[in-house]
Each structure stands twice: as structure tokens, then as C-alpha cells.
């Protein structure tokens, strides 16, 4: 007698296979934790942005005359202090990266065709590079005597 189990289904090779339950997870899903870090970044940057952006709005729009006193002289006064330069630089980078990651999520949710997703993200990342480069350049190279 051969050691076969009675009535067991006979398997003939060929068709699609189902992975055995204890096989390693497919490498595609474990390559990086990018989405986890993105999720965490939204929350951490969000907490900082609440302070940075609401402080910015308070100074620019609410306190001491609000928008009516904003002008070149006002900017020159504020950016003469490294404290406010740093405030604006950190706020710029956090806000832009927070916004880019938010819009990336929205594109992934609503743009279904690969081509559409590609071009929308290309546009998004290009705009982010412009904003970060230009904003950083302006903060670092501001010249209060440019007019004279």
C-alpha cells in the first residue's frame, strides 16, 4: 500500500498558486515605511504650524492696526531680527511640505488614470520646488537698502 490519504484531492501542477500561509510578505509592501512617516509628519508639523501660522496671522492681520501697517518698511523691521527670519523660514518649509503631502494624498484619491496622476504630481512637485527655493532665497538675501 502506498501512503496516500483516501479521498484527498489530487493536485496536478499548472494553475495559479496560493501562497502558503507562512511565506514571507511580498517585498512590494515592505520596501519602505514612507506612508507611515508621511502620516506622522502631518501630525507633528501640524502642531508646530498651529503655533507658527496663528502667530503669523495675529501679527500681520490682528494686532496694532493689522493689514494697514504692512509694507516694505514693516518687513524690513521684522526681518532685521534672526528670530523672525527663523520663524518665517521654518513656517515656510513646514507649511509647504505639509501642503504638498496633503495634495499628494488628494491626487492619489481622485485621479484614477496613471497619466493624470503623473502629470498632476509633476506639477505639484515643480510648484513646491519653486516656492521653497524662492521663499528661502528671499528670506536669506533680503536687503533693507535695496531701494537706495
Amino acid at each position: 500500500m502506498s501512503a496516500t490519504i483516501e479521498n484527498a484531492p489530487k493536485i496536478h501542477g499548472g494553475g495559479p498558486s496560493i501562497e502558503s500561509p507562512r511565506s514571507k510578505r511580498s517585498p512590494r509592501s515592505t520596501k519602505t515605511n514612507f506612508e507611515l512617516y508621511g502620516w506622522l509628519f502631518m501630525r507633528l508639523s501640524g502642531i508646530l504650524l498651529v503655533v507658527l501660522v496663528l502667530g503669523h496671522l495675529l501679527i500681520q492681520l490682528v494686532l496694532d492696526g493689522g493689514v494697514s501697517r504692512i509694507g516694505f518698511a514693516f518687513v524690513a523691521g521684522r526681518w532685521s531680527s534672526p528670530f523672525w527670519q527663523s520663524w518665517d523660514l521654518i513656517m515656510l518649509w513646514l507649511a509647504e511640505l505639509h501642503g504638498v503631502n496633503g495634495l499628494r494624498t488628494i491626487i492619489n484619491d481622485y485621479a484614477e488614470r496613471d497619466q493624470t496622476r503623473f502629470w498632476l504630481k509633476a506639477l505639484l512637485y515643480t510648484s513646491a520646488l519653486i516656492v521653497l527655493f524662492l521663499g528661502t532665497l528671499v528670506i536669506f538675501t533680503f536687503d533693507p537698502n535695496i531701494g537706495s
Binding site: G66, S68, G102, S127
Partner: protein, 126 residues
């Protein structure tokens, strides 16, 4: 569409929608705002002329709308963090949304005369 299959979330879904909409609005404003600020590298005159747009009564009203969007996004963002990290967060998500809206309303009312002060003075005289 067969009856009863359309998902109609309540407070949770609408706060999620509002968070997305305000987020996109703020992102587009940030793009424009970095460009207008960059004019300080061109000349004081170019910058001041552009900033005068912000002092137009209609644009001043849009600034109040921008503050409304940012305040909601900020307060609701803190609520999202509480839902994610506080063990009782999910159970109190609706209560927290009503708290967010109450705080939003108070801050909007309190800041209205200050933010629109320039417009009020321009239209009704000093």
C-alpha cells in the same frame, strides 16, 4: 444607484470634507503669498503696490475668509491628532467637533473688528 447604498457620513465625514477643502485653499494661497513676498527682492515700490491689493476692502474680506479656513483647519487638525493618539479620542470625536466649531466661532467673532478694521475705517471714515 440602488437605494440605501450611498454613504452619508455625519459629523465625521463632513469635517473630513471641510478639512480637505480648506487645506487646498490654504495651499493655493501659500503659493501666491510666497510670490507676492518675493517682490521685496525687486523693489520697495513693487512690494508696496502689490501689498496695497491686500488693503482693498473686498480683498480684506477675503483675508477674513482665509483666516476662517486656517482656523478651522488648525482646530480640526488638533481634533484629528486627539482622535489618533488619545485613547478616548474616537469616542469623543463628535463632542470634539462641536468644541472645534464653538472655539472657531468665538475666535472669528473676536477677530472680526480687528481684521476688518482697515476696511471699516476706509469706508466709514476715521
Amino acid at each position: 444607484m440602488p437605494a440605501g447604498t450611498l454613504y452619508r457620513g455625519r459629523e465625521g465625514m463632513w469635517s473630513w470634507v471641510a478639512h480637505r477643502v480648506t487645506g487646498v485653499l490654504i495651499f493655493f494661497f501659500l503659493f501666491a503669498h510666497v510670490l507676492d513676498t518675493a517682490l521685496v527682492r525687486v523693489s520697495p515700490e513693487a512690494y508696496d503696490q502689490t501689498i496695497d491689493i491686500y488693503k482693498n476692502p473686498f480683498v480684506n474680506l477675503l483675508e477674513y475668509g482665509l483666516v476662517a479656513a486656517i482656523l478651522f483647519h488648525a482646530l480640526n487638525g488638533l481634533r484629528i491628532i486627539a482622535v489618533d493618539f488619545w485613547e478616548k479620542g474616537p469616542r469623543y470625536q463628535k463632542h470634539m467637533l462641536w468644541t472645534v466649531l464653538a472655539v472657531w466661532l468665538i475666535l472669528m467673532a473676536a477677530s472680526l473688528p480687528r481684521i476688518l478694521e482697515h476696511t471699516i475705517k476706509t469706508i466709514f471714515g476715521s
